[in-house]
């Protein structure tokens, strides 16, 4: 019995997150029913829409790819006390840079694809340098600066698409990238593409960087306690700039992978808020690379499942954003859930000890 409690307390964070998720979905169920929508049926169509057949499952995975990469991007910053809300802007710029490299230069696939991904990473990383510099050199709150910097990125790419770059077809988009810059589609007729390998590599990279290298250790030390890290001789500012730019580079990579695997061009306003979702994904994933994969799967499934559900059940697709909002609210108040959870478990233990 004691081992169960020890296990529960040791995994306190995991359980309180799960409880938060359960409460969130409980609230959603109540909301659905109180607005006259059948929650049970909704759940059925949601699961069917997300994982019902090969096509739906593939489309879900294609959503998990950018969410995972962007989630890891946010996580790397957060581990080093850098709260990068600018993932969205960096992702958009990364997508734009990679799309340009994808259609302007012509190279064999073995160079073209990596070059294009690198261009995305460079664009995202460099854009992240602005808030990184502002934070370390001028003491500017990075949450504010990155929120503000998301807008110029959107307007800039919008401007490039509409007024500078040539356009093909009626939708505002850049020309299609060369076949040599594309990820192979794994299952014909679906969006599942070879880019998932990149997502796996990113997760493995983040795990090794944070847990097995001295730079990763120093970054986490800065995240845990800046002053203590400084006292131990860790170059705090340097590590923060590294983390910020790495976070931006991964955000750019997420955008580049979307271009290379799904759209084959830069589509104006192509991102359904992946950058903002990355924050939810990383938080629900407990700031852990493996956790990010699990939570990206949950939110990827939400995106495809709800799209299908809204067709069959007359439940508005806006439910996705709503669920995101409620989940983040509950995760933000997780401290309360965590403390009552530990009180509950601990309380029983102490109670039992008294009886003995």
């Amino acid at each position: 019995m004691n081992t169960v409690k020890k296990f529960l307390l040791k995994r306190e964070d995991v359980f309180s997150t799960l409880i938060a998720l359960l409460i969130a979905f409980g609230i959603i169920a109540i909301l659905l029913m109180s607005t006259g929508r059948p929650a049970g049926e909704a759940f059925y169509y949601f699961i069917k829409g997300a994982f019902g057949n090969v096509e739906n499952t593939s489309n879900t995975i294609s959503r998990v790819i950018p969410l995972t990469i962007a989630g890891v991007a946010f996580l790397i910053g957060a581990k080093c006390a850098v709260f990068n809300v600018g993932v969205e802007g960096q992702l958009i710029l990364g997508a734009m840079a990679s799309a340009i490299v994808g259609y302007i230069v012509h190279l064999p696939a073995i160079i073209h694809l990596p070059l294009m991904l690198l261009a995305g990473m460079a664009a995202g990383g460099l854009y992240a340098f602005i808030p990184a510099w502002l934070k370390t050199k001028r003491g500017v709150n990075e949450i504010l600066s990155t929120i503000m910097l998301n807008y110029p990125a959107t307007f800039f790419t919008h401007f490039l698409v509409l007024k500078v770059l040539p356009m093909e077809g009626v939708v505002p988009a850049t020309p299609k990238i060369d076949a040599t810059a594309r990820f192979a589609t794994l299952i014909e007729g679906t969006r599942l593409h070879a880019g998932f390998v990149v997502a796996i590599l990113v997760v493995v990279f983040a795990y090794f960087l944070l847990n097995k290298t001295s730079i990763g250790y120093e970054m986490r030390a800065v995240g845990a306690n800046k002053e203590a890290a400084r006292f131990h001789g860790i170059p705090v500012e340097k590590r923060m700039i590294t983390a910020f730019m790495l976070s931006g580079a991964l955000a750019g990579l997420a955008g580049a992978v979307e271009v290379a695997g799904v759209h084959y061009r830069f589509l104006d306003q192509f991102s359904p808020g992946y950058g903002y979702d990355s924050i939810t994904v990383a938080m629900v994933g407990l700031m852990n690379p493996i956790g990010v994969v699990l939570s990206a799967t949950l939110f990827g499934a939400l995106k495809t499942g709800i799209l299908d559900m809204s067709i069959y059940t007359e439940i508005p697709r806006q439910l996705t954003t709503l669920i995101n909002g409620i989940v983040v609210l509950l995760i933000a108040s997780k401290e309360m859930i965590r403390s009552s959870f530990s009180k509950l478990v601990r309380g029983k233990e102490e109670f039992k000890q008294e009886k003995e």
């Binding site: 504010l144 307007f155 806006q318 401290e335």
Partner: protein
Amino acid sequence: MTFLDIIKSVFTIALVYSTIRISISILIAGMGEMITERSGVLNIGVEGVMLMGAWAAAIGSYFSGSAWIGLLCAVGVALVIGLIFSYIAITLKASQAIAGLAITLLATGLSGYLLQIIFEHGGNTPRVPTLPNINLAFLNKIPVLGRIINDQSVLMIFALLLPILLYIIFYRTPWGTWLRAAGENPKALAVVGINPVTVRYIATLCGAMLGGIGGAYLSISQTSMFSENMVAGRGFIALAAVIFGNVKPRGVFAACMFFAFMDALQMTLQTAVPDNIIPREVFQALPYILTVVILAINMAKGGGPADIGNPYEKESR
């Protein structure tokens, strides 16, 4: 077209009129956010509060047939949202940034969802009754002023009086002193016997209420319907204006007017000068870029309340 012609066709009374028209929502919401930030709470969720305000105003106005009741609905809903935010950010001491982002996500989803549920179709509401516009006969006799003021929403009066009122409250009343102390040095305020938590709650709720009114202006005055995501970044512009204006009534007022002017200028340029060389995206991005620049200059000087963003800890020394 000569350069002078362009100048003449752009800088008109109509430009002043539309500057004021655009400024109303960001001015009201910005003043609200300023109160909140002065007390030491950073509410990034203004955008969400405005959106819910716009939604509630349109729904209330549609079903009651009175835009004034719509305005009351906006205030009510904004207060509820503000209460949720305050509880999480102040009482639970969670990250204010995360709570604010959550509020914006929640508002975007909830307003869109409920819109579809109520009207069985998405996009926007049917036309709803609107607040009256100012229409005073004697103003028409005054050449310039009449054309600027007449035909503006009644909320303009509120929006323009608000900065003056807040200036007086901030610097001439004990409330203002408590408010500023809650943001600068909450422990000192507690020593005097005023509970900083109460002050922060009241300030956040005032901010949310004004955010709701700022949103309501969009749906029941500037236009006569609610459409999805209609706030479209105005909440973040208001947030930017508060930073730009150094969290002070005069500064925030000036920043709001400046951003509104830029927006009006951009729109006028598009119609008046079809082949203008400055792309509209430059104007649209300008408020955000300027705000980042101001952040860079100001932070070194230590602008804004000292204790912003930090939860109030009773025990800590």
